[in-house]
């Protein structure tokens, strides 16, 4: 359906449990909660494994292959090692904040999965405002990071955490603007509706939106090439230095879980979720998520890190204007030509995306690094 009308959000229209689900509301809730937690943990273990093996192969060595057949038990070995470490809390730390920070950082990531559809109608809560919920909840993880930085009682952790927050806040806006482009084309905020309306995957209809969302997502989850706060810890220690044992394991988990969550969101928004021939839909979903995650690993292996002022410059001078223009163009297309076939827009959008990227590359001024005093 070519998007022309937004669905009005009324309480009667909210359908959380599908009518044909056996056992009623609580059974649905229990099943999906357990399924999501298990899915997420298994995917994180898979993510760690894929990252280490694929990165190793791309660097012309092999990753871990001794623990278990083909090294499959390596993440398990890592988890056991981390659990056996002593849990040290620094003396000057704020105890409650220090304790709660990993939890506050981890829970929102789990909550994102509540609205991601694994199959047609198979999600924990089919909210009408699905994507808005995702954006709102994913920002709470930043609070956890800040709590970690403050609660450590270490001024370098605080500096690292503040840098991280500056980056996340800068990239929230282009993230949301890229999402709005998708919402306009599909006509609904509900994740399930977005997937069902993708007869053509939105990566083709919104190529610029996909690119900007990918860059903004990598910056949000502190992945290379934007991983200043965790690997620039050469000097100012990152926000998770004062953590050891299980709390550190939570932060480590958060990093990969966020990567997986963002991959899942990209899959539903741009790659048409669970749709595909022959295989069961949830398998398509997993395959597409793994492919997106692999692309993230690929960029991590290849690109060196950017500096903090270059990161902010990129956000405000390159990604944000492009996101605004993308939104503008999409809105014009949807309002003035609602009945034209989407293939026409595919071609137009790809051409416009190429022109805009080239134009902006020429106009974007480098932010040299020297302080203008």
């Amino acid at each position: 359906m070519s998007g022309g009308e937004l669905i009005i959000n009324t309480p009667l229209a909210m359908q959380v449990t599908p009518a044909d689900w056996p056992g009623g509301y609580w059974w649905h809730w229990l099943f999906f909660t357990v399924a999501i937690i298990v899915f997420m943990l298994v995917m994180v273990i898979g993510a760690i494994y894929i990252e280490r093996r694929a990165m190793g192969k791309m660097q012309s060595r092999i990753g871990p292959n001794r623990t278990g057949p083909f090294g499959l038990l390596q993440p398990v070995a890592d988890a056991i090692k981390v659990l056996l470490k002593e849990n040290i809390v620094p003396g000057t730390a704020d105890k409650i904040v220090h304790f709660l920070a990993p939890i506050v950082a981890f829970t929102p990531v789990l909550m994102i999965f509540a609205v991601i559809p694994f199959q047609n109608g198979a999600l924990l809560a089919d909210l009408n405002i699905g994507i808005l919920y995702v954006v709102a909840v994913s920002s709470i993880a930043t609070v956890g990071v800040f709590m970690a930085g403050w609660g450590s009682g270490n001024k370098y952790s605080l500096l690292g955490a503040m840098r991280d927050i500056a980056a996340v806040v800068s990239y929230e806006i282009p993230l949301v603007l890229a999402i709005i482009g998708v919402v306009i084309v599909s006509g609904s905020l509900s994740m399930n509706e977005i997937v069902t309306s993708q007869d053509i995957p939105y990566i083709l209809v919104q190529p610029l939106g996909f690119l900007l969302f990918f860059i903004a997502a990598c910056a949000e989850i502190n992945r290379s090439p934007f991983d200043l706060t965790e690997a620039d810890s050469e000097l100012t220690a990152g926000f998770h230095t004062e953590y050891s044992g299980m709390k550190f394991a939570m932060f480590y988990l958060v990093e990969y879980a966020e990567a997986m969550a963002m991959s899942a969101v990209i899959t539903t928004l741009f790659l048409s979720g669970w749709r595909g021939p022959w295989l069961p839909p949830w398998l398509w979903f997993i395959i597409k998520t793994v492919i997106v995650f692999f692309v993230m690993v690929w960029t991590r292996t290849t690109l060196p890190r950017v500096r903090i002022d270059q990161l902010m410059g990129l956000a405000w001078k390159f990604v944000l204007p492009l996101a605004l223009i993308n939104l503008f163009i999409t809105a014009i297309e949807v309002i003035f030509w609602p009945d034209v076939s989407q293939w026409f827009f595919v071609i137009v959008n790809i051409a416009l995306a190429a022109i805009l990227v080239i134009l902006f590359s020429k106009l974007f001024k480098p932010g040299w690094g020297r302080v203008e005093v």
């Binding site: 694929a54 660097q59 290849t302 270059q310 390159f318 990227v357």
Partner: protein, 166 residues
Amino acid sequence: MKFENFGIGMLKGMAVTILHLFRHASVSQYPEQRLNISRRSRGNELVWSRERCTGCATCAKACPQGAIEIVTATDMAENKYKVETYRVDTGYCIQCGLCVEACPYDAVFLGYSYERARYRRAELVQSNDELLESPQRPVSGYFHPDIAEKLPKQTLLIEKVVEKRK
């Protein structure tokens, strides 16, 4: 950051990386696969030949570290110095090979091995019969071309990619 080449540079980089995914990794699975070390390898130990040594102590004079200690007695039964003690502190030795080069009677060799770690420093000091050649202590061809010819050829990374794990 200036995108002078519209992001093409980054895409080129990514193309090279993904190409490496399909090439064979340049590693070998030690200890299942061991590569052949050089025929002139300067291994971790010293090998001494009791028959040829005359106790002239040229090797001890040549050693820059002073790791070789020789005690001789003037029991001129076969018209040779009788070597009572020939002690090498392998912990001091830097495997430079100057002793092998210096010996006029070809009585000193460097070992062909590299896995000679010990748990105690005292076990690194070896003397007399511990220094003789044996199947566990093969000799290398450093400054001994006749021995070097008999040793297996060295595996070079230039020649081949390491074999796949069986």
